[in-house]
Amino acid sequence: MSDAPVSINPDLCRGCKKCVSACPFGVLYMDGKLVMLKADECRGCLACIQSCPFQAITAVSSDEIDHERLREFSGVWVFAEQQRGKVREVAYELLATGRRLADERGCELAAVVLGHEIGHTAAHLIAAGADKVILADDPKLAEYEANVYTDALHQLIAGHKPEVVLAGATAIGRAFFAKVAVRCYAGLTADCTALSIDSETTLLHQTRPAFGGNIMATIMTPNHRPQMATVRPHVFKMNPPDPGRVGETLLEALDLAPAVTRITRTIPSASSINIAEAEIVVAGGRGLKKAENLECLRRLADRLGGVVGVSRACVDAGWISAAHQVGQTGKTVSPKVYLAFGISGAIQHLEGMRGAETIIAVNNDPTAPIFDVADLGIVGDLMDILPALADAVDARARN
């Protein structure tokens, strides 16, 4: 444990409390007339120094000490999101990437699970590449609640000091990770599509799309730890499980405040599917012309073991629920195969599906932008192709 990043001179402090209100982390408090510091929780932002009219606070800093502080952080962590005891696939994908990063850094890979009665997850996570599984098992963590999850992960990070922390860019991961990053004064990059260790600086290089996918940016966090990132499902591939792997399981007891919001009811998606995590998406757009033609899409999706996605036009026309909408105002999908029937490919739609591994597009307009991103583009009437394709897939399955 290093010393605190700032020191307070009690002879100069007049107890004006300016620093207490300036501290964004609330780690300064009054003890009688003197200011005290919760040294373990100070992030070294030095806001207090600038706020003090009496120069009572000074930075305990030098390049050497700062460097030493960064070096205390070690290990790659993957937040293994689980619901009702089942770890989501994206966590296994991240463990594969995390394994590679940890090997490059020569450090340990840990999976972190928050929840209640989650002990059974450890074996799967170790088989997927984790050296260590950290289990925070608490009834207060049984259901996701952003504020309790934030407390829990922050306590674990403060205790173990990992160098890199990754999560799936899910509804849960994106929300509470941003809180944790602020509380830790850490850098956080959302929706990364590539992660690597820079050989020169040993920093995590995080690449992500911005401006609707028109631009890619590579981002790093030079002087703050941990380096945090989220990754969408299916962006990385998972490794096949290795049941022979051995690893350590660590049970952590946390001190958690009760939840401030409460789930009164859960309404599962009508179709009980989550298109964001689907491996195969069979999508249709305005070119379907009428709601009945969605049936053809469903048929093909069923045959392929995929799900139906649509462009905004179909939702606006009332043909199907918004849960199926792909694009900027809908969901982002990154399946293995995306089939687009009668979708012209407005930028708002492309943003939601350009992460697909393979894109097959059928459209009657040869100039449709969807063809610019398609691996296989077919100019033609979708009703000439779609039913015949479902039949052909059927025939294959029977043979």
């Binding site: 850098g187 919001t261 998606s269 918004a322 077919i378 192709i385």
Partner: protein, 265 residues
């Protein structure tokens, strides 16, 4: 009840490109719009104001010209607006942006009970500033919400859109809530609204007014650094077929590709 709605001026992302020569953003001539998700947040705030009475203040951080979207928010019905603008804010990542916005919300009078954000901005797509502000304010966070209802005692209900369905949530103000599209459709600004906002001054707060710590603002306060930006790899080698003449050949080509990807046997 005092509601703060945080809005962002964003370039119409469809038109932002990288200059292939210099690898820098070409933003010139790109139209600026109010982030579409923030319009839903504003609409949600105005609906709460209409149904149970509230003061609605719109906030944005950005260059002086970002005041345009605050005028639009007021034309639609916001009671007040504040621009957060200072050279020291330039280059802020989501951490430093959250810090400045939270400082401003702490300064608003009367005390803010509810802070609304759109679920994310369409330029950065991070969805991180709403949660970040909740952390600085120490207000509980709720994300991806719609159909927010607030009772007189400060208890609220909302539906949140999770990956596998919808959760009905109960909570208590204060809170920071990010909203999704399914909330009510945004209203238009009536001409009378525009007339009413004409001429009125929109206050602009910088480091000094916010009593912000300069080292925590802008690039200086940001943990992350952009190493480089570049154009996304172009999909090359795509195959194009004309399926109008021989649809059967097109079907065969699709099946072959599906089979190569292991999707069909």
């Amino acid at each position: 009840m005092h509601i703060a709605v945080c809005v962002k001026q964003v370039p119409d992302t469809a038109n932002v490109r990288i200059d292939p020569e210099t690898n820098t953003l070409m933003r010139e001539g790109v139209e600026s719009i109010i982030n579409p998700y923030d319009e839903y947040a504003l609409e949600q705030a105005l609906r709460l104001r209409d149904s149970c009475g509230a003061r609605v203040t719109a906030l944005t951080m950005g260059p002086p010209q970002a005041a345009v979207i605050l005028r639009e928010a007021m034309a639609r019905g916001a009671d007040g607006a504040v621009l957060l603008s200072d050279r020291a804010f330039a280059g802020a990542d989501t951490w430093a942006t959250s810090y400045v916005i939270a400082q401003a919300i702490k300064k608003l009078k009367p005390k803010v009970d509810l802070v609304l954000f759109g679920k994310q901005a369409i330029d950065g797509d991070t969805a991180q500033v709403g949660p970040g502000v909740s952390e600085f304010l120490k207000y509980p966070l709720l994300t991806y919400a719609r159909d927010l209802q607030v009772a007189a005692d400060g208890r609220y209900t909302a539906e949140t859109l999770m990956d596998d369905g919808v959760e009905v949530i109960e909570g208590e103000l204060p809170a920071v809530i990010t909203v999704v599209k399914e909330s009510a459709a945004p209203r238009f600004a009536p001409l009378a609204g525009w007339m009413a906002t004409r001429g009125g001054e929109i206050p602009s707060w910088g480091v000094k007014q916010l009593k912000a710590v300069p080292d925590l603002c802008g690039l200086q306060g940001s943990p992350t650094r952009v190493v480089k930006i570049f154009a996304p790899p172009v999909k090359s080698g795509g195959t194009r077929m004309d399926g109008r003449v021989q649809p059967a050949a097109a079907v065969e080509a699709i099946v072959t590709l599906l089979s190569r990807k292991g999707v069909v046997s």
